[in-house]
C-alpha cells in the first residue's frame, strides 16, 4: 500500500496535467494553474520545515562541538537576528508586532530588517556573484588550451567572439573594405553566436525536451521509481 498509493497519485495527476495541455474545456483548462497554485501553497508551508531543519542541524553541530562549530553559531545568530527584526518591526510593506517603529526608521532610514537586507545581505550576494568574473577567467584559461583539434577549434572560436564583442575587434578589422564586411570581427562573432552557437543550443534544448517527455512518461507509468527511493 505504501508503494501503490504514491504511484497511483503520480499516475492520476500526471495524466490530468498531460491531458490539460490539449483540452482547454473545463475542468481541464485551468487545472494546471490550480495545481500550480496548490504547489505554491504547499511550498510556502514547507519553508517552515526548511527553517526548522536549518535550526536543528546548526544547533546539533554546536552542541556536539563539531569541527568549525563557531561558524554555525554565526549562522544561527544571523538567522535569529533576521527573524526577530522581521517579527518585531516588520518589513517595508508589512508592519511588525511593534507596528511601524518610526523611531528606528528615523534612525536607520529603513526598518531594521530592510536595513540589514539592503546594506549587508545584498552586498554579500553581489560579492558572491562578482566572484563569477574571476572564476570565468580561470576556467577559460584551462578550457582554451590547444591540446587537440576540438580544443583548438574552441580556442579559435572563443578568441574570435571575445575580440568581436569588444571595441578592439572593430578597430583591428576597421581597415577591411565594405565589400568584405563579413570579415569584420564583430560580424564573425555575430555569425558564430547567431548560427553555430544557436544551432548547438537548440539541439541541446530539443533533446532535453525529448528527455523530459521520456522521463515524465517513465514516472507517470510507474517505471521510474527512484524518487520513491527505488521501491
Amino acid at each position: 500500500m505504501r508503494r501503490q498509493i504514491p504511484l497511483f497519485i503520480t499516475f492520476f495527476i500526471g495524466t490530468i496535467i498531460l491531458v490539460s495541455e490539449f483540452i482547454p474545456h473545463k475542468p481541464f483548462g485551468n487545472i494546471s494553474t490550480t495545481l500550480g497554485g496548490w504547489f505554491l501553497i504547499i511550498s510556502g508551508f514547507a519553508i517552515i520545515l526548511g527553517q526548522l531543519n536549518l535550526f536543528k542541524v546548526n544547533l546539533t553541530k554546536i552542541s556536539r562541538k563539531a569541527p568549525n562549530w563557531q561558524y554555525y553559531i554565526i549562522s544561527l545568530v544571523c538567522f535569529l537576528i533576521m527573524l526577530v527584526c522581521g517579527i518585531l518591526w516588520g518589513t517595508l510593506r508589512q508592519p511588525g508586532l511593534l507596528y511601524n517603529s518610526e523611531g528606528l526608521v528615523a534612525f536607520f532610514g529603513l526598518k531594521p530588517f530592510d536595513y540589514i537586507f539592503k546594506y549587508l545581505f545584498e552586498n554579500l550576494s553581489a560579492t558572491m556573484f562578482s566572484l563569477l568574473a574571476f572564476f570565468m577567467a580561470s576556467a577559460s584559461y584551462r578550457a582554451f588550451r590547444a591540446r587537440n583539434a576540438e580544443s583548438t577549434l574552441l580556442l579559435v572560436a572563443a578568441v574570435l567572439v571575445m575580440l568581436g564583442r569588444t571595441t578592439i575587434g572593430s578597430t583591428l578589422t576597421g581597415w577591411i573594405p565594405d565589400s568584405l564586411t563579413y570579415l569584420h570581427l564583430p560580424n564573425i562573432a555575430n555569425f558564430i553566436m547567431e548560427y553555430l552557437n544557436t544551432a548547438g543550443q537548440r539541439a541541446i534544448m530539443i533533446c532535453a525536451g525529448l528527455g523530459v517527455i521520456g522521463s515524465s512518461l517513465r514516472i507517470i507509468l510507474g517505471i521510474e521509481r527512484s524518487y520513491l527511493g527505488g521501491r
Binding site: L18, H25, S43, M128, F135, A139, G211, G214, L217, Y227
Partner: protein, 371 residues
C-alpha cells in the same frame, strides 16, 4: 409622408457616411480556450474619432464600460467574467476630441464557446503521441527480452569509481540537486540519480552531504536517501542530518556550498539539476579542492561552464536518461531507446522541412509553427 421621406434620406446619408468612413466593429469567440474569452475587432478610418469606449451587456439593455483601448490597437481580448454559452452584446462608442459622441454606438453580439481540443497544439499532440508510442513499444520489447544497445555514458560509469575513491580517502561526497524546486524536471532527474548514488554510498559505508536550497526538495531528498540506505541494507548508517537545508537565496546557497567544499574537501562533487549563474562558482571551487566532479544540467547556457570545470558533464538529455541508465532495468532502458526513435523522427522532420522549404512548399513549416 414627408417625415417618412426625411427619415429615409437621413438614414441613407448616415449609412453612406458610415460606409465612406469604413467603420466596422465585430466580435468573435476567442478560439482554443475554455469559453472565457471574446475577441473584439474594429476598423476606424475616420479622422474625427479621438477616443473609443467598449461596453458590454448580457441582456442587450444595461451596458457597462469594459475597456478604453487605443484606436490603433484594432482589437481587444475581453476576458473579464466571460462565461461560455451566454450571448454577449457589445457596443463601440466613438468620441471626437471634445468628448462628444460622433455617431450612434456600433453594436455586435457573440457567444463564447468552450473548445474540447486546442487546435494550436496539433503538432505537439502529434509528437507526444508518436514519442509515447515509440517509448511504450520499446519498453514492451525490452520486457519481452529483446536486447537493446544503449551507448556508454562515461559520467555515470564513474559514479562507482568516485564513491570508491571517496571511501579510500576517507572523505565525504557532495551532491547538489540544483537551485530549482520540485516542479522542475531537472531537479527530479537529479534526485533520481541521488537515489542510485546514495545506495552506492551506503554499500561503501562512505559519507554523503546533500545541501539543498528548497524545503520541498529537502523532504524529498531526505526520504530518497533514507530509502536508498534501507534498500542497500544499511538503514542504521543513514544520518538524517546528511541532507540539510541552507537557504532559498541563490548566492547565499552558493556561499554555503562553497564553504562545505573548502572545509570538508569532498572527494567527489555531483552537481545534477537546474543551475544558473552559480554553476561556475560551484564547479570552480570544487576544481580548486581537487575533487572528482560530475555535473549534469539541461540549461544550455550553463553547460559550457560545467564542461570547462568538471571531469564529466551530462549534457541535456543525458541528465534525464541517467536514472534509467543506472537502474539497468530493461523497461527503463527501453524508454531510452524510444527517446532515440523520437530524435530520429525529429531529424527526419527537420530534413524534410528544409527540402520542402527549398522547393517553396511551406505546409510542414506552417504546421509546426501554427501556435
Amino acid at each position: 409622408m414627408k417625415i417618412f421621406y426625411l427619415f429615409f434620406i437621413y438614414f441613407f446619408i448616415c449609412a453612406y457616411c458610415l460606409l465612406a468612413q469604413e467603420i466596422s466593429f465585430t466580435a468573435e469567440d476567442n478560439p482554443n480556450d475554455d469559453g472565457t474569452g471574446i475577441i473584439l475587432m474594429w476598423k476606424i478610418e475616420e479622422e474625427n474619432v479621438e477616443k473609443i469606449i467598449i461596453e458590454r451587456s448580457s441582456d442587450g439593455t444595461n451596458f457597462i464600460e469594459i475597456a478604453n483601448p487605443m484606436i490603433s490597437d484594432e482589437q481587444y481580448l475581453d476576458v473579464q467574467d466571460i462565461k461560455p454559452n451566454i450571448k454577449y452584446f457589445y457596443q463601440l462608442n466613438l468620441y471626437n476630441r471634445n468628448g462628444e459622441e460622433i455617431i450612434s454606438p456600433l453594436q455586435t453580439t457573440v457567444f463564447a464557446k468552450a473548445e474540447w481540443f486546442n487546435s494550436n497544439r496539433y503538432p505537439l499532440f502529434l509528437m507526444t503521441v508518436l514519442l509515447a508510442f515509440a517509448i511504450i513499444y520499446y519498453i514492451v520489447s525490452a520486457r519481452k527480452g529483446k536486447h537493446l544497445f544503449i551507448r556508454r555514458i562515461s559520467g555515470l560509469e564513474t559514479i562507482e569509481e568516485a564513491v570508491g575513491r571517496a571511501t579510500e580517502l576517507g572523505k565525504p561526497l557532495l551532491f547538489v540537486p540544483g537551485i530549482l524546486d520540485l516542479d522542475d524536471m531537472q531537479t527530479l532527474a537529479g534526485l533520481n540519480i541521488l537515489s542510485h548514488l546514495a545506495q552506492k554510498v551506503a554499500q561503501y559505508e562512505s559519507t554523503l552531504y546533500v545541501p539543498v536550497c528548497r524545503s520541498m526538495v529537502l523532504s524529498t531528498a531526505k526520504e530518497i536517501v533514507k530509502e536508498s540506505y534501507l534498500k542497500a541494507g544499511r538503514p542504521d548508517a543513514f544520518n538524517p542530518d546528511s541532507v540539510f537545508y541552507l537557504t532559498d537565496d541563490q548566492f547565499g546557497y552558493v556561499a554555503g556550498v562553497d564553504g562545505i567544499i573548502m572545509r570538508e574537501k569532498p572527494a567527489a562533487n555531483f552537481y545534477l539539476g537546474a543551475f544558473y549563474a552559480e554553476s561556475l562558482i560551484l564547479a570552480e571551487t570544487g576544481f580548486e579542492s581537487g575533487a572528482i566532479q560530475i555535473a549534469g544540467t539541461a540549461m544550455p547556457s550553463q553547460i559550457p561552464f560545467f564542461v570547462a570545470a568538471c571531469d564529466y558533464t551530462l549534457i541535456g538529455e543525458e541528465l534525464f536518461a541517467a536514472s534509467a541508465y543506472l537502474s539497468n532495468e530493461p523497461a527503463q532502458l527501453g524508454s531510452l531507446k524510444g527517446q532515440d526513435v523520437g530524435k530520429a523522427i525529429i531529424i527526419i522532420t527537420f530534413l524534410a522541412g528544409i527540402v520542402l522549404e527549398m522547393f517553396g512548399i511551406h505546409f510542414l513549416k506552417e504546421f509546426f509553427t501554427m501556435h
